[in-house]
């Protein structure tokens, strides 16, 4: 049996954008991949999927689940059919993200300095001060080159007419970039020659750009600044990503206990004594960064690192306190920010969002809760959210109680049907929902976005949640040369 038959049974979902098909035929940019896949015998596809799995295993691209006492190695599910973005779609996304990032970065600088945007009443003051990620410790702190968001992973989704929407801005420590790089390596292996045939733009330059940006942040006038990567340690689920990036950039991977602060300077403990650290690329959240300032019970961070940061003796990437800009309640105001700071119309649209802190919007949401997705403003990873259309009455009632305790902590959005892409699941080609997280790097030379990103897939049939912690997987993401 040729795989062509698998595609014949591919069901299109009503009212949903499909990346591969328009109403009657395969979209032009998928044509080549479609033909290649159709000519492969069906059992060959199974072999390719197995090859992909064994490659992830043998390269150690795994995360460990510690639920049953001893660790179980798992792989982040990978779908073998690539997701393809055309050159023109990409240049639109690129422009949109650059604009958004520029505005968000200006917003952070403003909020932590003169606060013009609050004084002009564009963003309500109480929203800022009630945000748990707004850090007073950062008020008046100057960061190198005024860059707060060095690395952003803005999540995009597509509505039923193919329009791109921003789902959320991840401006703290966005993860997943190692999968962008590794997925591409896997595609090279399972579909030899398919990449050059389709003129897919490469993604391997990401670590080099990031490294160049990190070096540029050093405050000392030395020829080789000391850049380190701070990881929470081997038990972190993204530890694989930390080691990969550190290796690809040739920088030291350190844990909190490897660093020490003296005289408001950060030093790394080495076999040859202490060595001053200039730039820290941290994958530790704000609240664990410095036990003297934030969570005193945590040993993941470094005591005194924030004082060194405030003094300007060390650069921290991403900047501390960015959470105030990707708070889901602040998200509503991003289009206004773009108009306010840049005097431009937003290129990428926001998903319509109701703030439950506002009485009239709350009433509307509670009445129509079955058509809504309700989320916590500071949540992430798909935890603690309510999908109105799929929840039971009991779940809805419980959730309502939660909301009424502290409405500020919640927002609601109408259910947006994410776009579909063909996935190879259980020996069949089936549509599954996807999103897109491109990775943008903001350095002193401007914003660069590597052509590609992480496409996350909701592998459960009909599911709209793509987070890896909720059974999501990923795809290789191709951006075609124009």
């Amino acid at each position: 049996m040729k795989a062509a038959e698998l595609f014949h049974k591919y069901p299109l979902t009503d009212n949903t954008w499909d990346e591969m098909y328009n109403e009657e035929s395969v979209r032009l940019h998928y044509q080549n991949v479609y033909e290649t896949l159709s000519n492969i015998p069906a059992d060959e596809l199974i072999k390719k999927e197995e090859l992909a799995k064994s490659l992830f295993m043998s390269q150690g691209i795994t995360f460990t689940v510690y639920s049953s006492g001893e660790g179980i190695e798992k792989i982040f599910p990978f779908d073998i059919i690539p997701r393809i973005i055309t050159g023109s779609e990409w240049s639109f996304i690129e422009k949109g993200i650059k604009q958004r990032l520029l505005a968000l970065n200006l917003f952070l600088k403003d909020v932590y300095h003169q606060q013009f945007i609050l004084k002009d009443g564009i963003v309500p003051v109480d929203l800022i001060y009630s945000c748990p990620h707004y850090l007073r410790e950062m008020q008046g702190v100057n960061v190198p080159h005024d860059i707060y968001i060095h690395i952003a992973g803005i999540d995009l989704i597509r509505d039923n007419d193919g329009t791109f929407y921003v789902l959320e801005d991840n401006l703290r420590t966005p993860s997943g970039v190692s999968y962008m790089i590794e997925n591409r390596e896997i595609t090279k292996r399972i579909f030899p020659d398919l990449l050059p045939q389709n003129h897919v733009r490469p993604v391997t330059q990401y670590p080099n750009i990031l490294y160049k940006n990190l070096m540029a942040l050093s405050h000392r006038q030395v020829s080789s600044p000391n850049v380190v990567m701070l990881t929470p340690g081997i038990f972190n689920s993204a530890y694989f990503e930390h080691t990969t990036l550190a290796r690809l950039m040739g920088i030291e991977l350190v844990e909190g206990r490897d660093l020490v602060v003296e005289n408001q300077k950060v030093y790394m403990k080495t076999t040859a004594g202490l060595q001053q650290v200039d730039v820290i690329y941290r994958r530790v959240d704000d609240e664990f960064l410095d036990p003297l300032v934030f969570n005193p019970d945590s040993v993941l961070g470094v005591s005194g690192v924030l004082s060194a940061y405030r003094k300007g003796n060390v650069a921290i990437v991403n900047a501390v306190g960015n959470g105030v800009a990707d708070d889901k309640a602040i998200y509503v105001y991003v289009p206004e920010m773009i108009r306010y700071y840049l005097n431009e119309e937003p290129i990428l649209k926001n998903v319509p969002t109701y703030q439950l802190g506002k009485a009239d919007e709350r009433d509307h949401v509670l009445k129509n809760i079955s058509k809504m997705v309700v989320k916590k403003t500071n949540g992430s990873g798909g935890y603690g959210m309510l999908m109105g259309h799929a929840a039971t009455d009991q779940e809805i009632n419980d959730y309502k109680q939660e909301i009424l305790k502290d409405p500020r902590q919640f927002i609601a959005q109408p259910v947006i049907s994410l776009s579909n892409a063909p996935c190879y699941v259980n020996g069949k080609v089936q549509p599954r929902r996807i999103d897109l997280r491109p990775f943008a790097l903001y350095g002193p030379d401007g914003i660069e976005i590597v052509p590609g990103g992480l496409t996350r897939v909701a592998l459960k049939e009909g599911s709209l949640v793509v987070n890896s912690s909720q059974g999501g997987g990923s795809k290789d993401t191709w951006v075609l040369a124009e």
Binding site: K188, Q205, K212, S223, S224, R247, G250
Partner: protein, 296 residues
Amino acid sequence: MERTDSILRILKINYASSQDSPDDFSWRPVLQVFGNLDDDAISNVGENSRAVLLYMVLDKDNSNSIFNMATQARENARGVQDNITVEMWKCLNGFYHVVRDDRLIYALQHGDPITVLDSLIKECMLYFGITDITMFRGEGLCFMNVGKYIERAIQSAEILDIKLNSLSYDLDKPTDTAYWKYLLMSISGYSLYLKKYQSGFEARNIIDQVLFDVNFPRSVLYSLHHLDLYFERLRDDKNAEGFSKVHFSIGKLKSKVQYSNVQSVSNVGLHDYLTEITTEIDEIGSTLNQYYFAYS
């Protein structure tokens, strides 16, 4: 075997890069160093990765094809079975049968080339490991290592020369980072480079690492040090004349490389310098042959 390993790695990395950025990629340099095709033939197969791989791995007319080298290595081993361990013989014999397997042709034509190259590289690593762990530390091993480091020094110098040639030896010519990255990856020197030089990719640093870094196992200087080391152990009164001749030329070349640096080399002219090195290593090889193996 040293050459086999080196070629396989180069093929693997070049293939990977051909998948990455097809527009500014060419197989030409690889074919020029290792193949015996003329210019027209290179243009014919040059753009087709699969054809290049078939030529480099399996072509019987290419004296540097993996097929021919594995066969040669096995033949040599057969001739000296009394001097090598049985594990080593089995390993080389096994490798020979792997490259003769028809499935290899099919896999190279239709399957994933990297899987094929990886499996061949594994055979080479097996060989190095088995040699290290089973061979008696005597004359036999010393001769093997002398040969190995002669080969390695030549390889590194030639690869560098080819890369620089396409820049017309202009060290300030701006290059794509991928250009140097793939060179370093094919000699397993990428991570070391990133750690050692923190200023991005620069031709001068690459030359420094590939020629002069004493701790980089594929640098020319490292190879010469080890060549000297293993040859020293062959010192024997019975062949005093041969020993002193070869020892002299190794020592001379080693000091020449040891007391050069990127600056002085560029003053002489990089191409001339690299050619001098390879010629001198070649000469060491033939003197060695003359005094130790010719019996005339």
